[in-house]
């Protein structure tokens, strides 16, 4: 998106008359980059370089593979620098694993990996880069495990090879959590394997037993089959079925109702009754249904776990992209270093548009920084030598050198992140509708078996007991337990494709209700940058102003530079810090800046210009005066424009019952103005992180809350809200605190999310309704004594499968 889209009366950017695909990535080539004399066209320099590198290595099959897979492209990326920080001893110690025989291994996050052709290309690395022995790509996590011979090649050289192919490698932060997750995943998979083997083998034996009911079966074989079924059934309960039993015990201890309780009850009662029947030599056994139940439930939970893992992994990988590289000044020579190698007292250089990696004091240089990540303040703050800067700020002006006071985990941001990590999810857990059912369910089943016993026991105690056991087994809430995880995980997967990452499945229910929506203003409802709102006076000066302001990175200058296509004449610009700019263009002298600049230059302000600046102030815009040859000719009003999608999205959310509210660290008047123009009645400006937290906590007492924010200052509020939503370009800390991450800017994804949440919740309710009606029917049949093991083996999976098919459709209702 360019700054040209501001609401100013300028010609629309040129449109491509025809679409020519980039030879590397397949995206459209902008008209300005078309070179008709060449037979290959590229959308950017990066793609061209990657194309040449790939062809030079004899890997042009990549393009054929890509076209065969009909993949949409992603433009080649180039990383900054030469990756020498990857050779730092500090980096080596932290990230590189030494293997026997002098080989090294590292896991890298590869930015830009998106399809199977990328996997093919990167896994060809050992054949084109001598010294690399193995390169194995994990497509879903976008990581590559690289092994190489440290004697023959340095890691930085391997990284440069990735870079040449159009991918940017980043180190993956080592994390104990990730290792724990990996072990848990493996344990889960083993359980599923064992459960499947148990279920399959018991099923084979059950077939023999069922056919024996119709034809005769010899007594010794019958006993053999029943004993074997019992053995496998007990194994299945004790190994793969253990999580259900321990879950139920944990719920009992915590004195809460959980869906694991009725499941564990059915499993335990069924297995005990079965073993008893086998030992006694008569009575029905249900081991086939029970083992199948364990398998189905485990698979459903594993699918859910996997989807959540994907979202968590994707968010964790986003952390890797934050700069790990600093330019260290050592004896007046600047070298790249890993952030791990920076110590207190070192001097680092931070270039324009770079993120400040450390806390420190400016040693030399004068600039302005964007502190919005930390404080929510959207206006740049001018700084000069002696001023303090914090990690996370973006340097907007020229290069500065900063004396390091704290780096990494000891910075303000780092400490905040550790706090959030430590506190984790301290909020009260959301009780999903499935668990709300647990209580009436357990009570209902107990009541039904009580009735069954009391009605039938006086006449026939044996059959009454058998009917009660059958009731407990067929009433196992398998379908109920399947519905929620399947529907949510499928929706999570579909949303992840659209760039909406969800960490937990329990976020859908509050999103489908009518929560209070607390919006941080910057970056969510507004563009988060200056654009020209009005232009009063001489229009013909626009190109000259654009030419004068081009090249500066001050937000006001960027907005002014985008006002028109600058002419290609030579300009001399002189910047007055914090005031504006003066210069000469085509023999005319031009001054662009604040009223102070005009006063300093002794330029009189005509009455119309004062009026225009008053109008600008009413709009809460910053007036900028433009003087030609010492005479004010135009006044531009600059402000933060509201995103075009904000209004329709807020309307849609309000129609669904959401109660929107602004909660921002910005200047109160600006926040109020934004709220008014969006029709939001409640707005709080100038809020500190503590005030935000307090407001969220207060709103949470009236019902669910959804907090949308991007800055470090939002992080505590995000973790306190029922659902915290971090938006694109947000700070690491906000990502960590939030449950949902929207990778597209603006509110449109939030509306999509709410729509999906409603559709998922509807489907879950439908599934639950069906599952409960099944349970009532099956329970009635059991009381009447009609349930046999064979009938149970048919109707139990049948109900689960019905629910499965309904759940599979979840998440379809996205974009309208």
């Amino acid at each position: 998106m360019t700054a040209l889209t501001a609401g100013v009366e300028i010609a629309p950017p040129f449109k491509e008359s025809r679409c020519i695909e980039c030879a590397h990535c397949g995206l459209d080539v902008p008209a300005g980059l078309l070179h008709l004399e060449r037979d290959k066209q590229f959308c950017c320099n990066g793609c061209e370089a990657a194309y040449e590198a790939i062809n030079a290595c004899g890997l042009r099959d990549y393009y054929e593979l890509k076209s065969r897979l009909a993949e949409t492209g992603e433009a080649a990326r180039r990383g900054p620098g030469r990756y020498t920080e990857f050779d730092d001893p500090a980096f080596t110690e932290r990230h590189i694993e030494s293997l026997p025989g002098g080989a090294c291994s590292v896991e890298l996050y590869i930015e830009g990996v998106h399809c199977a052709a990328c996997v093919w290309l990167l896994e060809k690395l050992p054949s084109v880069v001598p010294g690399v022995t193995i390169c194995e790509v994990d497509l879903s996590r976008r990581t590559a495990t690289v092994q190489w011979d440290a004697v023959r090649i340095a890691l930085s050289e391997i990284c440069r090879a990735f870079d040449r192919f159009g991918y940017v490698p980043h180190p993956v932060e080592p994390s104990a959590q990730r290792d724990a997750r990996k072990n848990e995943d493996r344990a889960y998979m083993i359980r599923i394997g064992v459960a499947a083997a148990c279920a399959g083998n018991v099923m084979l034996l059950a077939f023999a037993l069922y056919s024996g009911e119709f034809d005769a079966i010899g007594e010794p074989y019958l006993t053999l089959f029943r004993w074997m079924s019992a053995g496998i059934g007990v194994l299945s309960l004790l190994w793969p079925g253990k999580p259900f039993i321990s879950g139920a015990i944990a719920a009992l201890r915590a004195k809460v109702w959980h869906l694991d309780m009725p499941i564990a009850l059915a499993l335990v009662v069924g297995t005990f009754a079965g073993v008893f029947a086998v030992a006694r030599g008569s009575g029905e056994i249900y081991f086939d249904s029970l083992t199948m139940l364990i398998l189905l439930l485990l698979i459903a939970r594993w699918i859910q776990l996997r989807q959540q893992r994907r979202a968590t992994d994707a968010i964790e990988m986003l952390f890797s992209v934050t700069p790990r590289r600093v330019r260290l000044v050592r004896a007046d020579c600047v070298e790249d270093a890993s952030i791990d190698a920076v110590n207190r007292g070192d001097l680092v250089e931070i270039g324009p548009q770079e993120c400040v990696p450390v806390d420190g004091v400016i040693e030399s240089g004068t600039t302005s920084v964007d502190n919005s990540m930390l404080s929510g303040e959207s206006l740049p703050i001018p700084l000069t030598s002696g001023d303090a800067v914090s990690a996370g700020a973006v340097n907007l002006g020229s290069s500065i050198r900063v004396r390091v006071e704290a780096a990494g985990r000891t910075t303000r941001v780092g400490r905040l992140m550790s706090d959030i990590e430590r506190l984790g999810r301290s909020r009260t857990p959301i009780i999903g509708s499935a668990d709300k059912i647990a209580k009436p369910f357990v009570l209902g089943v107990f009541l039904a078996s009580g009735i069954c016993l009391s009605v039938r026991a006086p006449t026939d105690l044996g059959h009454a007991l058998e009917a009660a056991v059958a009731l407990l087994i067929v009433c196992c809430p398998c379908a109920v337990a399947l519905a929620t995880p399947l529907a949510t995980s499928i929706a999570i997967g579909r949303l992840a494709h659209c760039g909406i990452l969800i960490k937990g499945g329990d976020t859908f229910e509050p999103l489908a209700s009518t929560p209070t929506l607390l919006l941080d203003k910057t970056g969510t409802v507004t563009e988060g940058r200056f654009t020209i709102r009005t232009w009063t006076g001489d229009e013909s000066l626009k190109p000259a102003v654009a030419a004068l302001e081009a090249g500066s990175s001050h937000p006001v200058a960027i907005a002014l530079a985008a006002v028109a296509e600058p002419p290609s004449t030579s300009t001399q610009a002189h910047h007055h810090l914090g005031l504006g700019v003066t210069g000469h263009i085509d023999e005319m002298s031009l001054a662009v800046g604040s009223r102070r600049l005009m006063l300093d230059l002794d330029i009189d302000e005509p009455p119309w210009a004062s009026e225009a600046s008053h109008i600008a102030a009413d709009l809460h815009c910053t007036p900028v005066f433009i003087a030609k040859n010492n005479e004010i000719r135009a006044v531009a009003a600059l402000g933060d424009a509201i995103r075009p999608d904000a209004m329709p999205c807020l309307d849609e959310l309000a129609a669904a019952g959401w109660k929107p509210e602004l909660l921002s660290g910005d200047e109160p008047r600006m926040v109020e103005h934004t709220a008014r123009s969006l029709g939001i009645t409640r707005a709080t400006g100038g809020a500190s992180p503590e005030q935000k937290l307090e407001r969220v906590a207060q709103a949470s007492t009236d019902g669910p809350t959804v907090m949308v924010g991007d800055g470090v200052n939002d992080a505590p509020a995000l973790s306190a809200a029922t659902v915290g939503v971090a938006v694109s370009g947000g700070a690491e800390a906000s990502l960590m605190a939030a449950d949902v991450y929207l990778s597209e800017p603006g509110l449109a994804p939030l509306a999509d999310l709410a729509r999906t949440a409603r559709s998922v919740t509807r489907r879950i309710r439908l599934c639950l309704g069906l599952a409960i009606s099944y349970n009532i029917v099956a329970g009635a049949l059991a009381i009447a004594g009609f349930i046999s093991p064979l009938l149970a083996a048919v109707i139990m999976p049948a109900s689960s499968l019905t629910v499965l098919f309904i759940a599979l459709g979840a998440g379809k209702a996205r974009r309208q």
Partner: protein, 53 residues
């Protein structure tokens, strides 16, 4: 049919061996990435891809 008394436990032992193999497979990390290998089988062998077209 008394052979069933030997054959059935033997069959179960075979199944147990398969389960053991599966557990070894998971524990050595062969099932950690379940997505990428599905694509890898689409790629041509090394010898083929290096030939000059």
């Amino acid at each position: 049919m008394t052979v069933l008394f030997i054959v059935l436990p033997a069959a179960l032992l075979l199944a147990a061996a398969a389960v053991g193999g599966f557990i070894w497979m998971v524990r050595t990390g062969q099932c950690d990435d379940l997505d990428t290998p599905a694509y890898r089988i689409l790629f041509d062998d090394d010898g083929q891809s290096k030939r000059d077209r």
